[in-house]
């Protein structure tokens, strides 16, 4: 079922949490709403669920208008035929696992045998068939999460909503659940909207990604495309650590040259070039090279100022003579204060026009 959201606006008192957001969720796709806390992503999701009443806009589920501020339509959540997975799981503590999952089916007055069969199928899918008689508090965090998933899919919903479903799991479990959830959604061919602030989660699970900031859409499209070609500084920074070198931009054939304090580098242009721009370089694209090496890549001489071990690699902060700071990743430790030469390829340096939005701190 295709979901179409047009011009959605939600205000809380003086504050506008969502400002005229429009997007389409294609049938059978997984769309991730990604953004920092307070960006309005949860409000959008709760509007889709009917748990929040927006102030303006239209929401369509297929041909059916479920919300229209102008038309005075607001279908209550219980009639939207949804499945939803909540951040805190929201399992009813006074009901057994079976009853939690069966809750929605029972409200539909299905035959008892049918309810039972559907619940057990859903529990088996989540490997919970032996836990049906237990109470939620007798289960582990991962099992609770599976019950929440079973409850959300048992009624064969037209739309599955996921509200940061993995954020209350620990790191290892989160990875495992992410894969399992991905497989399940693909297998059921369900249309899903997934809210998260974790870009890895969004990149790995979604077929469409919408980056929200301050109630507006910053960029939307294919996740890999957005990761590769962030439209602005905010998106670039939100999708992971990125070095930003700001300076004057001049066209040089098919490439552009960015010149700033103590550096002059060449990169690929993305978007119009209008005097000023940001060169974006991911730390993983930067190599340390010999003083004597000769190459066509960009290179800079810098001093190592700070470093920390991050588990699988080291991250160092380096600074050039004019004070421009960069972060680099290395496999081994570097002595603080050392002068080194770093290099990165022209196609690893993407140049976007300067924007007013500085994005989140790196």
């Amino acid at each position: 079922m295709e979901v179409r959201v047009e011009n959605l606006t939600c205000t809380f008192g003086q504050k506008t949490a969502v400002q005229g957001v429009s997007f389409t969720v294609p049938s059978g796709s997984v769309t991730a709403l990604l953004g920092p806390s307070g960006c309005g992503k949860t409000t959008v999701l709760r509007s889709l669920a009917g748990l929040h009443r927006p102030d303006a806009g239209t929401i369509r589920f297929g041909d059916q208008v479920v919300f229209s501020a102008g038309g005075g339509v607001n279908v209550p959540p219980e009639r939207r035929a949804l499945g939803m997975i909540f951040q805190d799981f929201a399992l009813w503590p006074h009901m057994r696992v079976f009853d939690n999952v069966a809750f929605g089916l029972r409200l539909r007055h299905l035959a008892q045998a049918e309810t039972r069969a559907k619940v057990m199928t859903a529990l088996e899918m989540m490997h919970l068939q032996n836990e049906a008689r237990r109470f939620p508090h007798q289960l582990s965090g991962g099992q609770q999460q599976r019950v929440a998933v079973a409850r959300a899919i048992v009624s064969e919903p037209q739309l599955l909503l996921l509200d940061e479903p993995l954020s209350s799991l620990d790191a290892g479990l989160r990875e495992e659940m992410r894969q399992e959830l991905s497989r399940l959604i693909k297998r059921l061919g369900i249309t899903a909207v997934h809210v998260t602030h974790d870009h890895v989660e969004a990149l790995s699970m979604a077929s469409q990604m919408i980056v929200l900031n301050d109630g507006r859409i910053e960029q939307s499209g294919d996740p890999v495309e957005i990761y590769e070609r962030p439209g602005n500084l905010f998106v670039a920074r939100f999708l992971g650590v990125v070095n930003v070198m700001t300076g004057k931009v001049e066209r040089e054939g098919s490439t552009v040259r960015v010149s700033g304090p103590g550096f002059s580098i060449v990169g690929e242009p993305h978007g119009p070039i209008n005097g000023h721009g940001h060169a974006l370089i991911r730390p993983s694209s930067i190599r340390i090279v010999d003083e004597a090496a000769v190459s066509t890549d960009n290179d800079l001489t810098v001093q190592v100022t700070e470093g920390a071990f991050h588990g699988e690699r080291w991250q160092f902060e380096v600074v050039n003579d004019a004070g421009a700071r960069l972060r680099i990743h290395t496999d081994a430790a570097l002595p603080l204060g050392a002068r080194i030469r770093i290099s990165f390829a022209v196609d690893a340096c993407r140049v976007i026009p300067a924007t007013e939005n500085p994005g989140p701190p790196p």
């Binding site: 669920a49 297929g62 209550p76 959540p77 035929a81 929201a90 009813w92 503590p93 809750f103 037209q158």
Partner: protein, 584 residues
């Protein structure tokens, strides 16, 4: 599992059932709102009408009359004066006690803390009836001294009223100051000590100033309790001939010369004073002029009392001996005397008074049992209604929520005696009788008035219970297809079990020992517990059976509280649920 089933088909099939549910939901909502309108809004509106537009008099005339005639406004001055005095005296006991029980090594702190709660929950007229049994000419003190006690006449005076109120109300100051002390934690004091301040200096300059808002809030509660108290005004106040606002309201409505407009004007003034006091109190608490260290405050160091320990212990015991010991020892002793005139001879002691209460179907067991039935019925109906209203406030947005919130908050500050007066004005109207609605003077109206008086408090208590339920538990049920009644019955009520039981119990106890509503609204010949007790204590010859009945009632209520606690504490699953809810 196939997802092919067409969604529109499902929606269609569910349509009819859904419409039926909707109708039922609407009926339930309408009934609940109608109950609130009849039980709270109607009586209070009639009270205001009576004061502002009295029949056959100039608008607002009753206010003018109240404030221009000394015999009318003296009660206001008396009430406010006693209120201010008791604020001071109650804090002289409450604040030191809070410091002693929270921050020192005084022995028996837990017992004293439990006694504070006992005093807090004891209805004021039971305490003052106990004092009457003790101090009255021919009462317990005369009997023990063997001659006339010198205080009998001076006790039934403003002095005695202030004394009893002080020892009844110091728990309010104590609880406020304790909460403040616990919230502040030890860090500020320790920081001052590290900076070079002595212990006393640290207390005077740091701890006490930090406590000020909490204590002030407690004092305002004391003041509000004093001016709205009917139990002591109707007993010691009545005997002392010292008019207080609540007693005046009662007298204007119930005894000759009856004057409804004056009662209404006095009531309105009383409610406005309460509203102003409690408004300031909630502002004080909301402003939180001090930032408390939250969550990680550690156990503060105890102050060692050293050589003072036993003297302080003696003083603390004395406080509770006066607050609870004196009145209830006298009551128990007198209840066991066959004939109060014969005094303390051994042969005079026995259970005759208890036997005669249990056989007296009019003023004895009859009245007691009537109160039991009424309070069980009213507490149960109050629970049902308050849960519905709580749910509406919790889930509704906008105007409906605003109205319900305001109705319940405003009516919470209405003293019982004023609400009772409102019921008289509202239901003692000719057009109602002509329309065949003859509720006035029936037990049914008394029952309704109990509900009307208690439902707002129950709603506010349930609201704090329901707010502990994670909102997503309810969202999840709604997304699964549950409508209001299903949500309420299947999700909300099971999760609120503990809160429902304790609110029921509290309402039951309050109604059981109600005096104000009962005095004003009991049907002639059908007295309740409170009415019967007041009648018995009014006459020295009946004080023996009066005290016996009081003890029977207290014993019965304690037994109910105990049984319910055992039944629900023994319920391991309830505890598990509470634990699980915290974890999930």
């Amino acid at each position: 599992m196939s997802l092919a089933a067409a969604p529109e088909l499902r929606t269609h099939a569910r349509g009819d059932a859904w419409r039926r549910h909707l109708a039922l939901d609407r009926i339930v909502v309408a009934v609940a709102l109608a109950c609130l309108a009849v039980l709270i809004v109607f009586p209070l509106a009639m009270l205001l009408m009576q004061a502002v537009f009295p029949a056959g008099a100039v608008p607002l005339g009753p206010f003018v009359e109240t404030f221009s005639t000394p015999s009318n406004y003296i009660a206001i001055i008396d009430s406010i004066g006693i209120g201010l005095v008791v604020c001071v005296t109650a804090s002289l006991i409450g604040i030191p006690l809070a410091i002693l029980l929270n921050r020192t090594d005084l022995p028996g702190r837990r017992i004293f803390e439990a006694l504070v709660w006992v005093d807090f929950f004891t209805p004021s007229y039971l305490v003052s009836l106990g004092w009457t049994a003790l101090m009255q000419r021919g009462g317990f003190l005369d009997l023990t001294l063997g001659h006339m006690n010198p205080f009998a006449s001076s006790f039934f005076s403003p002095f005695g009223i202030a004394l009893v109120l002080t020892f009844k109300l110091f728990p309010f100051v104590y609880l406020a100051a304790s909460a403040g002390l616990q919230a502040i934690g030890a860090e500020y004091e320790e920081a001052a000590r590290v900076a070079g301040s002595g212990r006393l200096h640290a207390w005077l300059r740091i701890v006490i100033p930090l406590l000020r808002p909490a204590i002030l809030a407690g004092l305002i509660l004391v003041f509000a309790e004093v001016i709205s108290d009917f139990g002591i005004a109707a007993t010691i106040g009545q005997q002392a001939g010292f008019p207080l606002m609540t007693l005046e309201v009662y007298n204007y409505v119930s005894s000759w010369p009856i004057n409804y407009p004056l009662a209404a004007a006095m009531s309105t003034f009383l409610v406005l004073s309460m509203g102003a006091a409690l408004g300031v109190q909630s502002l004080l608490l909301r402003r939180r002029s001090y930032q408390v260290i939250s969550g990680r405050a550690h156990q503060p160091n105890q102050i060692a009392l050293g050589a003072w320990k036993w003297a302080v212990l003696g003083a603390t015991i004395l406080v509770f001996a006066i607050a609870l010991g004196a009145p209830f020892t006298a009551s128990i002793a007198i209840s066991l005397m066959q004939n109060i005139g014969r005094g303390l001879e051994a042969s005079n002691f026995g259970f005759q008074n208890y036997a005669s209460v249990l056989s007296d179907l009019h003023l004895g067991i009859g009245a007691l049992w009537r109160s039991v039935e009424l309070s069980i019925g009213a507490a149960t109906l109050t629970s049902v209604l308050s849960l519905l209203v709580t749910y509406m406030i919790y889930r509704w947005r906008g105007l409906g929520r605003l109205v319900l919130n305001n109705v319940t908050v405003i009516s919470m500050v209405v003293p019982s005696i004023v609400m009772a007066a409102g019921y008289v004005f509202a239901f003692n109207q000719a057009w109602l009788f002509n329309a065949g609605i003859a509720l006035y003077g029936t037990l049914l109206l008394l029952l309704l008035s109990y509900i009307g008086q208690q439902v707002s408090m129950a709603v506010r208590l349930h609201l704090s219970g329901v707010q502990q339920i994670s909102g997503s538990l309810i969202d999840a049920a709604q997304v699964s297809g549950a409508r209001m009644l299903t949500l309420l019955v299947r999700i909300v009520l099971p999760l609120m079990r503990k809160s429902i039981v304790s609110v029921w119990l509290l309402t039951f106890v309050i109604i059981m020992f109600d005096l104000a509503m009962s005095e004003m609204l009991y049907p002639p010949g059908e007295p309740t517990l409170g009415v019967a007790l007041i009648q018995k204590f009014g006459d020295l010859g009946n004080i023996g059976t009066g005290t016996a009945m009081m003890m029977l009632a207290i014993g019965f209520v304690l037994a109910v509280v105990l049984i319910i606690n055992i039944v629900f504490r023994g319920d391991a699953r309830a505890n598990q649920l509470a634990g699980a809810q915290r974890r999930i």
